[in-house]
């Protein structure tokens, strides 16, 4: 027995195929769109994060120093004495060797190989010395408080009796190269501090006689140019 009904398989298949392709396309487009949006959001987030790191790190570093004395900006870098810790001067070491007894606190212990010392007098006078040796001291220091280490420092210069405080610095430099902010300690390599998010062609230090700032252009599509002010050149 044969059926008298006529089939519509071909149109059904065509409609089903069309709808299927449409649905798949929509789904694929949505997924791709989400991917692109996520990538953009991540890129934008990285850019904002990098700008925040630049601002935080550089403002912090420059606030601890004085322009022309502790830091200098050139076309491609910021060279500085990077602050690493403070010390209260307890007085001359009891062993009469010309060493200085201090109560020190900082990010890390002073390292004579790469650190210098700034001594501040009770009248505001300032002197810089190389740190020759730094070791823990057994002598008591009445000025020391919790969290400070009493140390014995030998520096490469004559000491006077009116030093009241000291700071430890290391030689370093910040560079805006390779699409990121990089720090170079002494003669070491440049270590990135931020994600690589900037277009090097339009990113760099802004040289202004009165202030130091930067201009950061993110790679395309990840935000606008960000200009950040960090410090006045003529002091605080």
């Amino acid at each position: 027995m044969t059926s008298g009904r006529r089939g519509v398989s071909l149109p059904e298949v065509l409609v089903a195929l069309t709808l299927g392709v449409f649905v798949v396309h929509m789904g694929w487009s949505t997924i791709r769109g989400l991917e692109r949006f996520e990538e953009h959001a991540r890129g934008r987030g990285d850019t904002v994060l990098a700008a925040r790191v630049v601002r935080s790190v550089l403002r912090g570093e420059l606030a601890h120093g004085v322009a022309g004395r502790d830091w200098w900006v050139t076309a491609d870098s910021l060279s500085l004495r990077a602050f690493r810790g403070t010390a209260v001067v307890c007085g001359p070491s009891a062993d009469s060797t010309g060493a200085l007894l201090v109560a020190y606190a900082g990010d890390r212990r002073p390292e004579p190989a790469k650190d210098s010392v700034e001594l501040v007098g009770s009248d505001g006078s300032i002197a810089y010395f190389d740190l020759l040796t730094a070791s823990d001291a057994l002598d008591p220091c009445v000025l020391a408080v919790a969290g400070e280490v009493v140390m014995r420092w030998v520096v490469d210069g004559p000491l006077r009796d009116r030093w009241v405080a000291a700071r430890v610095f290391e030689r370093g430099g910040y560079h805006l190269t390779g699409s990121a902010l990089r720090y170079r300690s002494g003669a070491g390599g440049r270590q990135p501090l931020t994600p690589e998010v900037w277009d090097d062609r339009d990113t760099g230090w802004r040289l202004d006689p009165a202030s130091v700032s930067v201009s950061l252009r993110p790679t395309s599509g990840h935000g606008e140019v960000w200009g950040g002010f960090f410090a006045w050149i003529d002091g605080t």
Partner: protein, 356 residues
């Protein structure tokens, strides 16, 4: 009726929904992470600014009388709660007679110990008088014409009997301390700048009340039984310390030639120009003059005089060093002069930390 139709639509839809959900969830996590780091950055900025604000506030307030009994090495911690920053601890740490390490720490949940530090100078009365061990100081190239009396008190007895009121207003330890600390006060010394320690002329002028005219006669002014501080020529009542103006010490400034014609006063007078004391005027305390100081016509200055442009003391007039008088004036003017002056020009002396 049995349905033999089979399809994968449901499976496809479920898979796509799962894929979309996974991606959306990833995006959400990414956004939350970015928001979290931004929030931490903003909070840290707030805490840092609060620490700086607390430190600046303390610096401008300076130290109080409690510092007199404070030895080098001692610390004073003041706890406060800033409405915009949370619990704050401000620490005054004495590193020298006039050098202080001023720090502030803001405590807030995950940012315990975010701090700011400055090295500041605050004048100490005894240290200033020890440093200023002279009756009159002039600039290196200035000259002094001393026809009258310029002398440093030499004995406790002389200090205490020179003026009967001294026994009323000065503790005996002032004299004893000077005798023990200053072996031989010089009469005329040379100084490099017209300043009280790190308080230079500009800072002194900025803190002093400017006199309304170039010439005047200071004296006590009482209104309704109390001292009238609004009258800028009311320079206290050193002759009658028991009166309402007896404890009134002034910080006054003048620009150009300033003439004190008669009268009596006590405190610190700062003049960017010349200062003249005439017509038996008497001043007890400290004068800092960028120009020339002229004391004539029986006028008397008792305390310390710093005249960078030189001095003329006419016959019959006198400048007498008095630790008591200078000390009383410097002690009384702590609120005006005792502001912490940055001892180091860096914005932050320490400690290291994340900054805004």
């Amino acid at each position: 009726m049995k349905n033999d139709e089979r399809g994968a639509v449901l499976v496809v839809v479920v898979l796509m929904a799962v894929a979309l959900y996974a991606m959306a969830h990833g995006l959400l996590l990414s956004a939350r992470h970015a928001l979290g780091t931004a929030s931490i950055g903003a909070s840290l900025l707030e805490v840092r600014v609060a620490a700086d604000a607390a430190l600046e506030e303390a610096r401008l307030e300076g130290v109080g009388r409690w510092a007199d009994s404070f030895g080098v090495g001692q610390r004073r911690v003041v706890s406060d709660t800033l409405p915009w920053g949370g619990p704050t601890r401000t620490t005054w740490r004495r590193l020298g007679r006039e050098a202080w390490l001023l720090g502030s720490t803001v405590e807030r949940a995950r940012f315990t110990g975010v701090a700011s530090e400055r090295l500041v100078w605050v004048y100490d009365v005894l240290e200033r008088i020890l440093e200023m061990s002279y009756a009159l100081a002039i600039g290196p190239s200035a000259t002094a014409s001393l026809a009258g009396t310029v002398r440093a008190s030499t004995t406790n007895e002389e200090r205490e009997v020179a003026d009967a009121t001294l026994r009323v207003v000065c503790d005996p330890w002032w004299s004893a301390w000077e005798a023990a600390s200053v072996e031989a006060p010089v009469v005329v010394a040379t100084v490099e700048t017209p300043a009280l320690g790190l308080l230079d002329l500009d800072q002194l002028l900025a803190r002093a009340s400017r006199l309304p005219g170039a010439t005047g006669t200071p004296g006590p002014r009482e209104v309704a039984g109390s001292c009238d501080p609004t009258d800028l020529w009311n320079w206290g009542d050193p002759d009658r310390p028991w009166r309402p103006c007896g404890g009134h010490f002034v910080l006054r400034s003048g620009v150009g030639v300033t003439t004190v014609a008669g009268g009596v006063g006590q405190g610190v007078v700062v003049v960017d120009g010349d200062l003249e004391l005439t017509a038996s005027a008497r001043h007890y305390g400290v004068v800092v003059v960028s120009g020339r100081l002229r004391v004539a016509e029986g006028a008397r200055l008792e305390g310390l005089a710093l005249a960078f442009g030189g001095a003329d003391v006419a016959a019959g007039a006198s400048i007498v060093r008095s630790v008591c008088r200078a000390g009383l004036a410097l002690d009384a003017l702590r609120d005006e002069l005792g502001v912490g002056i940055p001892l180091h020009s860096a914005m932050r002396f320490g400690p290291r930390g994340v900054a805004p």
